[in-house]
């Protein structure tokens, strides 16, 4: 086992999971207190600025999750070890969750500030397309009837999807810039040091929550694969561990 694998195993063990859960709850609580009580209201937006502390970290986790899908997809195609496929699948599910959360939280923030739930801003539009690409990724995972093929197909979508995102973003940005961009979209929210701290803790809290959710999802994924391997093992005459790492082909 490499050190990366050992670290992953430690995190996804029951004990590691409990520690992560405690850390996630503590940091989310700290983030809530900082963003709701300690940090000052914004100069222009007043208390509405507090919606930033959940929206922006959610967006960060969404992008982080899809970057993990991309890296794990490459690792899977290179090594064909099922653990990389499990990592990609877990991260894609959580990424879709956080992308949807980003859009919903953003809409709730946008309605009072911009006066609309939705605007065809490049970042918004790219995020919506991102959500659809990875919903497609999850749909592809349900297509094949054997795990090896599922892993390969999903990995290809995970790679192509991620590589496509910058081009999508560029095209939508140019597309939008031909129209008049709303001036208030361009203004950076006024950020004081305390707001920066609240946002920083928000990033940390959401990242820890992501790692915790990953740990749980990876353990469940491993249990699913083990159940499958245990059912298959006597029939194909291969040990459970081997089947879990490299499923029978065909």
């Amino acid at each position: 086992m490499t050190s990366a694998e050992r670290a992953m195993a430690a995190l996804t063990a029951r004990r590691g999971e409990r520690i992560l859960a405690a850390l996630a709850i503590a940091s989310l609580a700290a983030s809530a207190i900082l963003s709701l009580v300690v940090s000052p209201p914004g100069a222009e937006q007043g208390n509405l600025i507090r919606r930033m502390y959940v929206h922006v970290p959610a967006a960060w986790v969404a992008y982080l999750a899809f970057a993990v899908v991309f890296a794990a997809s490459i690792a899977y195609l290179a090594t064909r070890k099922t653990r990389w496929d499990r990592l990609a699948a877990a991260s894609a599910e959580i990424g879709v969750l956080f992308t949807a959360l980003t859009i919903v939280l953003g809409s709730i923030w946008a309605k009072p500030v911009w006066g609309t739930w939705w605007t065809w801003d490049p970042r918004l539009t790219t995020t919506a397309i991102l959500l659809l690409i990875y919903v497609g990724y999850l749909a592809v995972r349900r297509l094949p009837d054997n795990p090896a093929r599922r892993g390969r197909w999903a990995a290809v979508v995970g790679i192509v999807g991620f590589v496509d995102v910058p081009i999508v973003h560029l095209s939508v940005r140019w597309w939008r810039s031909l129209h008049q961009a709303p001036a208030r979209l361009l203004g950076v929210p006024d950020v004081s040091p305390m707001m920066g701290a609240a946002l920083g803790i928000g990033f940390l809290a959401f990242t820890v929550a992501y790692v915790y959710l990953m740990a749980v999802r990876l353990r469940v994924g491993r249990l699913e694969d083990r159940a499958m391997a245990e059912a298959l093992s006597p029939r194909v005459g291969q040990p459970v561990e081997a089947l879990m790492e490299e499923p029978a082909r065909g």
Binding site: L77, I129, L132, I133, V135, G136, A139, V140, R142, L143, P144, D145, A148, R149, R152, W153, A155, V156, V157, I159, V160, G161, V163, D164, I167, V168, L170, S171, V172, W174, W175, L178, R249, G250
Partner: protein
């Protein structure tokens, strides 16, 4: 046989199937025409609105039609063990991807050439004075679309395939084709073809990325 030769062989085979079966001409083209009439009816007969929306509607019709074209090209491989034959052939798997993309791109381009005059008449779309920009937008956009479709068309032929998965994958991934293709044609048709350079550049970048990544990973989709 080089990769180019193999690609041409696969493309030639697919085009031969089309010439003999006339699926794209007989079903995909009428479908695109039906869509355009439906778009026109839904927008009403106002001249300005139709003129403004024509480039977008034209590309939407191409996008929808391409879904049918790709279903057909991979469905014909599913019959009579044709796919197994293709897999057993001593060729680079990437040539299947490139060849199918080339064949469908050509079919779609023929379809576009037939549909554009109809759109000119029905939507009062002017072709402007930049035929090269116009041709570039159609050719580059169609190549990109064909590359995405050729890559993921394989997935639609899985035993548990659901019809919706293919467009769900292709449409979001092909966003740059839709945006850049529409904008380039819009600029060309309003006499501003000179400003379309960056859009054509974007299409070139998209085509190269999808063709490049597709060539690298396509074999992974087929291997079993």
């Amino acid at each position: 046989m080089t990769l180019l030769g193999q690609t041409l062989a696969v493309a030639g085979k697919d085009l031969r199937v089309e010439v003999r079966g006339r699926y794209a001409l007989g079903a995909v083209l009428p479908f695109a025409a039906t869509l355009l009439i439906a778009f026109g009816l839904s927008l009403g007969p106002g001249r300005t609105l139709l003129q403004q929306t024509a480039p977008g509607l034209l590309w939407l019709a191409v996008l929808f039609a391409s879904v049918l074209a790709f279903r057909q090209t991979y469905q014909s491989e599913a019959e009579d063990g044709a796919m197994e034959g293709l897999l057993l052939a001593p060729i680079d798997k990437a040539s299947v991807f490139l060849g199918k993309a080339a064949a469908v791109a050509l079919e779609l381009l023929v379809m576009e050439a037939l549909v554009v005059p109809a759109v000119m008449a029905m939507f009062d779309l002017s072709l402007g004075d930049a035929p090269l920009v116009l041709a570039g937008a159609f050719v580059l956009g169609t190549i990109g679309l064909a590359a995405v479709g050729s890559l993921f068309g394989v997935l639609a032929e899985s035993p548990r395939a659901r019809e919706a998965v293919f467009p769900l994958l292709v449409f979001p991934l092909a966003t740059p084709v839709l945006v850049a293709g529409v904008k380039a044609i819009e600029l060309a048709s309003t006499g501003r073809g000179g400003q379309a350079g960056s859009w054509l550049g974007l299409l070139v970048a998209f085509d190269l990325v999808v063709l490049g990544v597709g060539t690298l990973v396509f074999g992974q989709l087929l291997e079993d």
